[in-house]
């Protein structure tokens, strides 16, 4: 009788721990609005942008320009149209950069506090080829990403690391959430990981050889990959969400995330 009670208690706490996990996260992305409070010419800048851009889901971004101070801005990338936008600045100056990856044109509009008269400059975009840090050949690059996004209406890219046990546990959870919702799933490996270490998880039966492809996609790296695993990205109609979703979640949480993010993508695609 005591073991039944104890077992029930343990089960209660285990289930309780995870059922409480699904709290109602009411997070809102107001990055654009918040950032406008930090920069000059915040009323003029939106007039120099395409209509609807301020309402998109912008993400924080680091701006590293040679021989200048590191800056903190926001970015919005549209993988479907191959257009990327960045804003950075302070109370004296604000820069708005538009990159057209198809034409390789980089257009920067600078607004200085006071007159806020836009000064536009253009340049040819030099692609950053630094996303591949591994010598391994079994990799998932931008070409693979666009092929996957073309093949499926929507899906998830899930990146795991052998050094983060929860990211291994999370594979079953994301599989359950995606497959039950009819999407596609790519499970990829942190490119900094040792394959030998990753293969140890195959021995445990938690990972298959198919999950050993290392992610080197610049598009994914530009969306914040690398600071935590697992990291999940969602795409729909060729648009890769600007936001990653990090940390271990149960499938119920992933299902909620999928629903919310697909709605956000619809907003970003307008």
């Amino acid at each position: 009788m005591n073991s039944i009670v104890l077992g029930t208690l343990v089960l209660f706490f285990v289930c309780g721990a995870f059922s409480k996990d699904v709290f109602e996260n009411k997070a809102v992305n107001n990055n654009f609005e918040n950032y406008m409070k930090k920069v000059s010419c915040s009323k003029v800048l939106p007039k120099n942008m395409d209509a609807g851009l301020p309402e998109k889901n912008w993400s924080p971004v680091l701006i590293s320009i040679p021989s200048q101070k590191l800056k903190y801005g926001i970015a919005f990338k549209n993988s479907k149209t191959a257009m990327s936008y960045k804003i950075w600045g302070d109370k004296k100056t604000v820069h708005f950069e538009v990159l057209n990856k198809n034409t390789k044109q980089l257009k920067t509009t600078k607004l200085v506090a006071g007159t806020c008269e836009p000064v536009v400059s253009t340049a040819v975009y030099a692609e950053n080829k630094n996303s591949k840090l591994t010598t391994d050949t079994n990799v998932f690059d931008d070409q693979d990403l666009f092929a996957v996004m073309k093949k499926s209406k929507w899906g998830v890219i899930y990146v795991w690391s052998p050094y983060m046990p929860y990211s291994v546990q999370g594979i079953a959870e994301i599989k359950s959430a995606v497959e039950s919702s009819g999407g596609s799933l790519e499970i990829l490996l942190d490119q900094n990981a040792s394959l030998t270490e990753a293969e140890k998880w195959i021995e445990k039966g938690l990972v298959t050889k198919q999950y050993l492809k290392k992610v080197v996609s610049a598009e994914i790296y530009d969306r914040g990959l690398g600071v935590h695993y697992p990291a999940a990205y969602i795409y729909k109609d060729g648009f890769l969400s600007n936001a990653d979703y990090v940390g271990f979640k149960k499938s119920k949480m992933y299902s909620k995330w999928i629903k919310t993010e697909l709605e956000n993508i619809d907003k970003d695609l307008k």
Partner: protein, 403 residues
Amino acid sequence: MMMKKIIFLVSLVCVSSAFSEIKCDNSVLKTEKTYEIPGAGYWMQAFGDCRITYTSVGGISSKMYNMCTNSAEPITNRIDAYGLPEGDIYTHPGAYGIEFYKTSDLLLSGAQTRPFFQDAHPGDYQSIGILSKSGNERKIRIAMGSAGGSIKDYVIKKKGDDFEIKAVQSEPLKICRNIPSAGLDRQVPILSRDGKYIAGRDNGTRVMKIYKINDRNGDCEFVNEIPAVTSKVSFSFDKKNVIFVVNDPNTRKGRLLQMNIESGEVITLSSPTENVQYMTSTEKGEILYSRKSDSGSGATSTLVKLSPSLIPKANSSDSKSYEAIGLMWAKNCNMQIDLDYALAVGQRLTDENCNAIVKDGDLKSLDAEYSNLKTDEVKKVCSVSAGSAAKTSGSAGPAATGQ
């Protein structure tokens, strides 16, 4: 005689050329010490004076490394160890709740050690702060990341070789339910060392925010934010700073940054040659961080220890000189770096490399604000750092593998 003079002069030239060869890898950087550790060092926590705990590979378990003996040590086969700074007790999250282990038991029984105390505070991603300390008694706070975040406090009394632990609250206190997102996202909350603040990622904006916790009702008051997508953070023990890793937008490597919590000022601590994976602060004010192995090994990482004097500072009177040195080094190495990296590199170069840069570098080729600096003034900073004479990349011996 003439021949001897020629040989002597040629030797001098060769030697001075060797000294002025500027390297472009991690060997140019000053460190207190480096170690090769098995694994990647993720979720690294300093544990006592000598040890770190971190995540393991190939199983739901942790790893421990002893920097004083330069060896891996066994630790219990449970996930995500987090120890008290005194080094005598550590914790694991378990299915039942939080489990407490004695280091003395661990050193006797190894991986099979059992917890000496468990408490029903279920969840994971735990972090610990010391609320107060007096004699043999400590009051600690444990934060859990799951279900929006919760805290629970414990009083630990040392009685001889044993400890008596009592929970202060009967139930965990839910925290941050008052913030716009109605709670913290569960995967990156980290408690400050004094248990009063918590850092958590805002799942809407994706920036890391720091809050002050109301002890009474668990409400969180916004203090400041890191305007970037970051790893989990580590609070310093002096309560002034947080350190964290970001994905560098150019190199795409891990970049180690530090933010002053009050002012929000952010500085870079690592070099563009480093691919930083994880970091932690120690009670002595040191910073420990892991980077992709200098040896090129996939199975190990290089653990770097920076003593307080080696940690780059912002806004020193010599900032321009350090930036100039960093920029000249980068130019020599065919790199283009931002000023934050330049400032960090300038401060982290060994004296030998610093002097070589100043000797061979071309100040005049830099922008006006640097080209107008006097070489002697710039050269002065090469020996300014406290203890700089002894500090080079000192590596420990090979680490023992396995547990």
